[in-house]
């Protein structure tokens, strides 16, 4: 399949990216890993006249803790996340998610920024970032602005980014002393998008849950925050009964549609099961870290 014609731009700095966006406000697209955009262009579902490749813009692949947050440059590849000991030890939920995105070859190119900016409800990072309370940083000639991941994700394939803004960084609050995260996904086969997936973060004060974050993948028009389940967990111990009820509330928050991956009831049941398992895993990881 051959995409339509376009011009390829490889700017060497963010200001050059903005110039290109400014010159072609209606028909330019940013190219990150290209693992979503290029397939869309091959199907001619996207026909940008200008492709602006971010790969040669310096300093967009930061992966480090700074000022109380994990800072991820938008161009950090899935493969780099998957291999990072820092991510594995301190942000296991992000490690889990990066390891189940597509397949190892796609992960060598796909970026975390692209995963969020694409805003496909089937993408794996948005739900995990909801659970972790991440913030995203958008930059334009008008300046830098930081917004919560909740505000960033607007609708199916729609984010709060303005036409002249580039997603430059993702900030994930550093985990509290006794906390753990997990991301569990059910897929039909390797490389497929989720039937459903659940990202969870739990923080503890003694034996009691002091904070809970739960995000759901591919069971609604965008990644969903299971707010009622989160609120229910706070102040409780993660007993079997509590986990079961939180899982039920999370399944209620899901808003799936029937498709080739299964009917609505099945997907809700998967959300319930995965939420319970992810909560137990996150609690176990929190204990192991303490």
């Amino acid at each position: 399949m051959i995409p339509d014609n376009f011009s390829y731009l490889a700017p060497a700095s963010l200001p050059e990216v903005w110039d290109a966006l400014h010159e072609h406000p209606d028909d330019a697209k940013i190219l990150a890993g290209g693992q979503s955009l290029i397939p869309l262009m091959k199907f001619r579902l996207a026909n940008p006249a200008y492709l602006i490749d971010l790969r040669h813009v310096p300093d967009m692949d930061t992966l480090a803790e700074r000022d109380g947050a994990l800072v991820l440059g938008a161009m950090v590849r899935e493969a780099a996340l998957e291999r990072s000991p820092l991510i594995q030890q301190r942000y296991p939920g992000i490690h889990d998610a990066s390891a189940v995105v597509a397949d190892p070859l796609v992960r060598n190119w796909a970026t975390v920024g692209g995963n969020l900016a694409h805003a496909d409800p089937a993408n794996d990072h948005p739900a995990m970032m909801l659970a972790l309370g991440a913030r995203v940083v958008a930059q334009s000639p008008r300046g830098r602005r930081e917004l919560s991941i909740d505000d960033f994700l607007v609708d199916t394939m729609e984010t709060a980014l303005q036409p002249d803004e580039v997603l430059v960084e993702i900030h994930v609050p550093q985990p509290a002393a006794r906390s753990g995260s997990a991301y569990l996904k059910l897929e039909r086969k390797v490389g497929d998008y989720a039937i459903a997936a659940v990202g969870v973060q739990l923080a503890f004060d003694g034996e009691v849950i002091s904070h809970a974050g739960i995000g759901l993948t591919n069971v609604g028009p965008k990644a969903i925050r299971a707010q009622q389940a989160e609120a229910f967990l706070v102040g409780k111990q993660p007993s079997d009964e509590t986990v079961r009820e939180a899982a039920r509330l999370a399944a209620q928050a899901a808003d799936p549609t029937a498709d080739l991956r299964g009917p609505v009831e099945y997907k809700r049941a998967i959300v319930r099961t995965l939420t319970a398992r992810a909560l137990r895993l996150a609690a176990q990881r929190a204990t192991a870290l303490a």
Partner: protein, 169 residues
């Protein structure tokens, strides 16, 4: 509409004026005339088009050749050295790691990069590593064996560098 690109392909410089929409796999097969790299699904699923870009295995049906300006590309044709098969090619031959052979070039590209980082892998690690390369013939069992065969050979070669250097020259 065309753009000039210059890259290294299997150690040889290559340059051409191409349309930006030319996929890397088409550049390799139709401009450089190296047809060892295959096109299977054309939808980023099968890995038959896998090549290495600066050593990183990548699906060449999902990259544009213009993105490769200044980069180093390696294809299956770059594996054999001075008429001697690469240990992985030898492994696929000895262990019957292919039937129709359509997936093999991609498998070799992925496996070569993997063994550089994992010289003594478990079977499970191999299976994870080749998860982006589909094979419709073998059932994968012999592919895993072939990669283990090569891993063992490469380890032995590195343990006795002088002796093998003489043999392969």
């Amino acid at each position: 509409m065309t753009q000039h690109v210059k890259m290294t392909l299997n150690g040889q410089p290559i340059e051409a004026d191409i349309e930006p929409r030319l996929l890397l796999v088409h550049f390799i097969r139709e401009v450089a005339n190296l047809t060892g790299t295959h096109i299977g699904c054309d939808t980023t699923s099968c890995g038959a088009c896998t090549v290495q870009i600066n050593g990183v295995p990548s699906k060449s049906c999902t990259l544009f050749a213009v993105q490769m300006d200044g980069e180093e590309i390696r294809t299956v044709e770059g594996m054999e050295q001075n008429g001697a098969l690469h240990p992985l090619q030898e492994g696929f031959y000895q262990e019957h790691g292919l039937q129709c052979g359509f997936c093999t070039p991609g498998m070799l590209m992925t496996a070569e990069a993997f063994l550089r980082e994992h010289p003594a892998p478990t079977d499970d690690e191999i299976r994870q590593a080749i998860a982006g390369n589909l094979c419709r013939c073998t059932g994968y069992v012999n592919i895993v064996k072939a990669i283990q065969h090569a891993a063992k050979h490469i380890r032995e070669e590195q343990a006795a560098p002088v002796a093998t250097a003489e043999v392969t020259r």
